[in-house]
Symmetry: C2
DNA sequence: GTTGTATTGATAACCATTATCATTAATGAG
DNA sequence: CTCATTAATGATAATGGTTATCAATACAAC
């Protein structure tokens, strides 16, 4: 009786990488939250929840790197001096969104409004750019910056 | 016989900031290039061109910070571990563009294609987001990532 | 020119991230 | 299941971009 492999387990297999304890735990942490965690936040969450008290910070960084390379996790810079990460796909399938960043308090809004319109234009732009500049384009980044109601 | 004040000189005045030698030189460096310079690159360019051999790296960082606050310079993270800067407006007026980033070699293409279409959608999106999430939005960031022909 | 104060520069400190390397554990063969 | 191979881990130290400190300097208003 075998458990169904999840989407990311398949990616690990295909890349010839091992499915280790720390990697499972880190993906678990990321799948439990809607926040955009930094490496240190993942590390602290791990300790707090006793998921596995002895995963080193180094391993967190290395694992995140692997996850980004496999496309399982997206990497963001919101300007607060630390890199932040989020799962590219939730348990219920893709959940494509962009970000609205408050430059006052750092609050992040994940918005899905306008995504369809944006997507249409982005696809077109992407194709045009790829052809004109001879690039193979993998992904894009859209962020809006401003002040939220509290920081106004 | 007075020299006409440039657009950024007015911004300094309005903010009550002094127009110092180092600040003039740093803006000059930025206006001489189409590249996206890091603080250290500005520092080295300065030395190389003997613009003023004794401007400290600290001053570069501080000045860039001021310039960003005044909206004279835009700040970017292209994923190579150093912040990069470019003038928001060239000597010939605005020159709005977005960036295409090669994740292989770090090469950056400033593209203006599709900007008009993008602008229309972005304005609309911006208004919608501002209203729905009660933000005052100041600027946005769009980047495409991929591999250039050499890194393919 | 004088003066008050913002700005500067040398230095040290900071802190997120990466390199090192001996130890541990996932995986596949038998 | 057991073993051997080798990828992965974790403690520690190192790296490197950026920021804090503080005495010295220079801009700008009078």
């Amino acid at each position: 009786m075998h458990m169904q492999k999840s989407w990311w387990q398949k990616k690990f297999k295909k890349a010839g990488l091992r499915l280790t304890g720390p990697r499972l735990v880190i993906i678990d942490i990321l799948s439990q939250t809607n926040n955009h965690l930094s490496a240190e936040e993942i590390y602290l969450t791990l300790r707090r929840e006793n998921k596995s008290n002895n995963i080193g910070l180094t391993t967190i960084y290395r694992t995140l790197d692997v996850l980004v390379r496999l496309g399982i996790v997206y990497k963001f810079d919101f300007g607060d001096g630390r890199t932040r990460y989020e799962l590219s796909e939730g348990p219920n399938g893709f959940h494509h969104h962009h970000h609205l960043v408050c430059t006052g308090c750092g609050h992040i809004v994940d918005y899905t409004d306008f995504i369809d319109e944006e997507k249409e234009l982005l696809d077109r732009t992407e194709k045009g750019l790829a052809k004109k500049y001879n690039f193979s384009i993998h992904h894009h980044l859209i962020q809006f910056y401003g002040l939220c109601e509290h920081c106004r």
